[in-house]
């Protein structure tokens, strides 16, 4: 009996595979010759089974399944074999392929916004697919659509049918995408990075939904992702891909607990650092909070509120959206503060308001003892050299028409006018070396760099003047896990080498704990909890902090599948109509009538700590 790695470790191998890939290869013809995206990929997935395909971007994992679906770019060629049930897909006629794509294989992509048609309502898009697969009346199709939306646990499904994709949140859109993929009852669902662009809490909800659907429909599921944590609780088997090849296949428990390949071991270690089960020696913050009390205050924000006017028409009254309300914080030299919360919680608004990049409604901001709001514009600009910002989108924050050298030199041109060309160039090259980029990259343009390199250029631009405060606005969420780890290490090293204070914004608690001594939790623009990082992870006081922690994906399949079973649904309410009293009460499992009546006061149990919850004393 030929015992390949794949077949030996499949549990219950009695069922015939739904999809069987044998020595599949993908090659792209480019003007510079053929480029191999994947080769010799042999994988299979059985009904009711979930196969996790893990690898960094560029590992070829998406291309393999695009080839399976016949969706390769025009210059791509597939070789080998891909059998779906009885059909050989690589040799199928376009009509046969259409049948398979429509009824046999459902697909869910990373970005649900671009996969939905913007000018059709959710109901129209769903019924269109339903009508293509079954002769239904309009009313029956609507009924089916409603059932599907209920099945994917979309809140207020009847109302959502009449809404357009842009009216839904990212998590809701992804649920709609899943409903669309399920409309034809496919035996196989392929999900390509379905949770990458979502918040951790929503990611946990979507993963739990996929797990439940797989169980009840006996559906085969292929989950393509770069995030081992996303795979852990869901996949029965895991295949690790690197540079177009499958380097390790096995049951999820085997691969994640005792990885064989050195590359898999590194991936697992990186992921375990994120869920807090492995130490990250290089990233441990150098200074303790107690030391910092004697240092000068770099940034002080008091009762800061930011409102945005929305729905401004010629006549209609303008609604006020409170993006941030009464947030206070203080940051001393050498200190690091993490700000966490789901998207829409006001994290980025706080960063921009603190840097005076947008108009604040009320409250006070003080930079290094001076209030920038009262300064003339030119003086304000010259103060900016001490407060720098790193952005979420590594490529988008770099001017596409400038070389790396010009980008990094720009702050020098503005703030160090005395510098001649040669010493400016020397300073740029020194900074590039400092952030781990070679001088050879100085002449490149941003689009010629990888995401990690772009983010390093952004960091180089921010630190070239030696700022006193570095604000990082989700600097890692657009990067691969291994790259994230490298950037975290770089930021920690930069901070250790100087007295730079760090304000680190992220929706990922796992990243924040590696870099920050203190953590501030925001929800709907309000402060929920401020605590030392270690204390927050060990014993969160606020129910919301607990929910965030519980949503962190774990690499351990046993822990993660238990976590997925315990996931609670719910997304933040609209900031246009925040709930009365405590804004978190609509999602809070501990809510009592008092929570709806009064806004909880900001209490400070100890210096440098704070909490806004009526019940924290009895809950802890």
């Amino acid at each position: 009996m030929p015992s390949t790695l794949a077949s030996a470790e499949r549990p219950g191998g009695a069922l015939p595979a739904v999809l069987n890939l044998a020595r599949l290869g993908v090659t792209f013809d480019t003007p510079r010759g053929p480029v191999v995206a994947a080769e010799d990929v042999t994988l299979s997935v059985a009904p009711g089974e979930c196969l996790g395909v893990v690898g960094e971007s560029g590992a070829g994992k998406s291309q393999v399944f695009l080839a399976v679906m016949g969706l390769l770019a025009a210059n791509g060629r597939a070789s080998g074999s891909a059998r779906f049930q009885e059909t050989e897909l690589l040799a199928a006629t376009p009509a046969a392929l259409d049948r398979v794509r429509g009824a046999g294989i459902g697909m869910v992509f990373q970005d649900p916004m671009t996969s939905l048609t913007p000018h059709l309502t959710v109901g129209d898009q769903l019924t269109e697919v339903l009508l293509r697969h079954a002769p239904l009346g309009a009313a029956a199709a609507r009924e089916r659509a409603l059932t599907l939306l209920e099945r994917v646990q979309l809140t207020d499904p009847a109302e959502r049918l009449g809404q357009y994709p842009h009216e839904l949140s990212g998590g809701m859109r992804q649920r709609v995408m899943i409903a669309l993929a399920l409309a034809s009852n496919p035996p196989l669902l392929i999900a390509d990075e379905p949770t990458t662009s979502l918040d951790v809490t929503v990611q946990a909800q979507i993963l739990a939904l996929l797990a439940a659907l797989k169980r009840e429909r006996e559906m085969a599921l292929i989950l393509i992702t770069h995030d081992l944590g996303a795979v852990a609780g869901l996949a029965d088997r895991v295949a690790v891909m690197r540079q177009g090849r499958v380097i390790e296949v096995g049951t999820a428990a085997r691969v994640l607990k005792t990885p064989q390949d050195p590359y898999t071991r590194r991936l697992v270690l990186d992921a375990r650092r994120l869920d807090g089960t492995a130490d990250s020696p290089k990233a441990t913050p150098a200074r303790q909070a107690a030391d910092a009390a004697r240092e000068p205050v770099v940034l002080a924000v008091t009762d800061l509120s930011v409102d945005f006017g929305v729905g401004r028409g010629w006549f209609g009254a303008q609604a006020r959206l409170a993006a941030l309300s009464r947030v206070s914080l203080e940051l001393r030299a050498g200190e690091s503060l993490g700000i966490v919360g789901e998207s829409g919680c006001g994290k980025s608004t706080l960063a921009r308001a603190a840097l005076q990049l947008l108009r604040t409604t009320s409250g006070r901001v003080v930079w290094l003892g001076r209030a920038p709001a009262q300064l003339p514009a030119a003086e304000l600009r010259s103060l900016r050299r001490d407060l720098q910002l790193i952005f979420q989108d590594p490529l988008g924050s770099l001017d596409p028409r400038m070389t790396v050298e010009e980008i990094v030199a720009e702050p020098l041109r503005v703030h160090e006018r005395a510098l001649d060309v040669r010493s400016r160039r020397a300073a740029v090259l020194a900074t590039l070396a400092h952030v781990g980029l070679t001088a050879e990259l100085a002449g490149r343009y941003p689009h010629e760099l990888s995401g990690g390199e772009c983010q390093r250029v952004g960091i180089a631009r921010a630190v070239v003047l030696g700022p006193k405060l570095l604000v990082c606005d989700e600097p890692l969420s657009a990067l691969d896990l291994p790259t994230q780890q490298q950037i975290v290490t770089l930021l920690a090293a930069l901070r250790a080498a100087s007295q730079m204070a760090l304000l680190f914004i992220s929706h990922n608690l796992g990243l924040v704990q590696q870099l920050c001594v203190r953590v501030l939790v925001l929800y709907l623009g309000r402060m929920m909890e401020l605590a030392p990082a270690a204390a927050l992870y060990a014993a969160p006081r606020h129910p919301y902090s607990r929910e965030l922690l519980a949503a962190l994906p774990s690499v351990d399949p046993d822990i993660q599948s238990a976590r997925l079973k315990a996931v609670r649904s719910g997304e933040p309410p609209s900031p246009l109509a925040p709930p009365s009293g405590c804004v978190y009460r609509t999602r809070c499992p501990q809510a009592r009538p008092v929570c709806a009546e009064r806004v909880p006061a900001w209490e400070e149990p100890a210096a440098g700590e704070g909490i806004a919850c009526h019940r924290w004393r009895e809950l802890s």
Partner: protein, 289 residues
């Protein structure tokens, strides 16, 4: 890996490479270069001036007389010289008018889009008002006000109208750019608004503007020819493609070459400029890469 190595070039050289791979664009560039060289060199090639008369050869067809390659018109003026000096004048006027309208349009649109708010509102309302003026009417008024200097008036009239569309295109581009993070990055590092405009906004809108420029030049040639055809632009004895075609059209039955030769040059110019514009648009389109 290979992709990275290949990408190690600028965006402009990338576009240039793609342009060279397009045979239509190469042909268009060759035609443009040939016509321009011919137009500039024409006075050196023949003894005739654009207004010198040859009484011995009136209304001669092309190549009948060795001295007049394109023949002569009713007054015995050499058509080779007249056609090419017409090309020269038309090209000069249209390139100048395009340049003027591009400079004004880019600055106006970039400032309006970048400033936003009330400034943007007023600047664009001004554009709307100018748009709504019937431009032929404006030209007629201008020519009757300054009858002596037709070419300057023509430039003014063409420029006054041409920059409006540019301003709108650039403003829309600027509005989209303004929301990009690299503009915010520049603000966050303390770059002054004027410097942001010149260093970050204008270079990034130039791509679409360069494409638009190659399409605005033929439009200007056409407008110039049209105005001259109506007798509002370049006046006799000076030759432009417009008034040559006007005169030629009247002699269509007796001397067709008087229409066909200048018309052929006009078509060749317009066609190659339009092909070049299309090629440029494709070369700059990031979706093509």
């Amino acid at each position: 890996m290979t992709e990275r190595a290949a990408a190690a070039r600028g965006r402009w050289s990338d576009a240039a490479r793609r342009l060279k791979g397009n045979p239509l664009v190469v042909a268009a560039l060759a035609v443009l270069a040939a016509v321009t060289v011919l137009a500039v060199a024409a006075p050196l090639l023949t003894p005739w001036g654009y207004d010198s008369l040859d009484w011995r050869h009136l209304a001669q067809p092309p190549a009948r007389v060795a001295a007049h390659w394109f023949g002569t018109d009713r007054l015995g003026r050499d058509l080779f010289v007249r056609t090419l000096s017409g090309v020269r004048l038309s090209l000069l006027i249209s390139v100048l008018a395009s340049a003027v309208s591009l400079v004004i349009g880019v600055l106006w649109g970039a400032v309006a889009g970048f400033a936003g708010g009330r400034t943007d509102g007023w600047m664009m309302r001004f554009v709307d008002v100018l748009y709504s003026l019937p431009y032929l009417f404006v030209v007629i008024i201008l020519t009757s006000l300054f009858p002596s200097n037709n070419i300057a008036v023509l430039l003014l009239a063409l420029g006054a109208v041409g920059w409006l569309t540019t301003a709108r295109i650039v403003r829309a581009q600027t509005l989209a750019l303004k929301r990009r993070e690299f503009i915010e990055a520049a603000r966050a590092s303390g770059v002054a608004p004027g410097a942001i405009l010149l260093r970050h906004v204008v270079p990034n809108v130039l791509g679409p503007v360069v494409v638009y420029a190659t399409l605005i030049v033929p439009q200007m040639i056409l407008s110039e020819s049209f105005l001259s055809f109506l007798g509002l632009g370049v006046q006799e004895p000076r030759a432009s493609l417009g008034n040559l075609i006007y005169v030629g059209a009247q002699e269509l039955e007796s001397a067709p070459w008087m229409l066909l030769l200048p018309a052929a040059f006009l078509v060749a110019l317009l066609l190659s400029l339009n092909l070049l514009g299309d090629g440029l648009r494709d070369a700059f389109d990031p979706r093509e890469r």
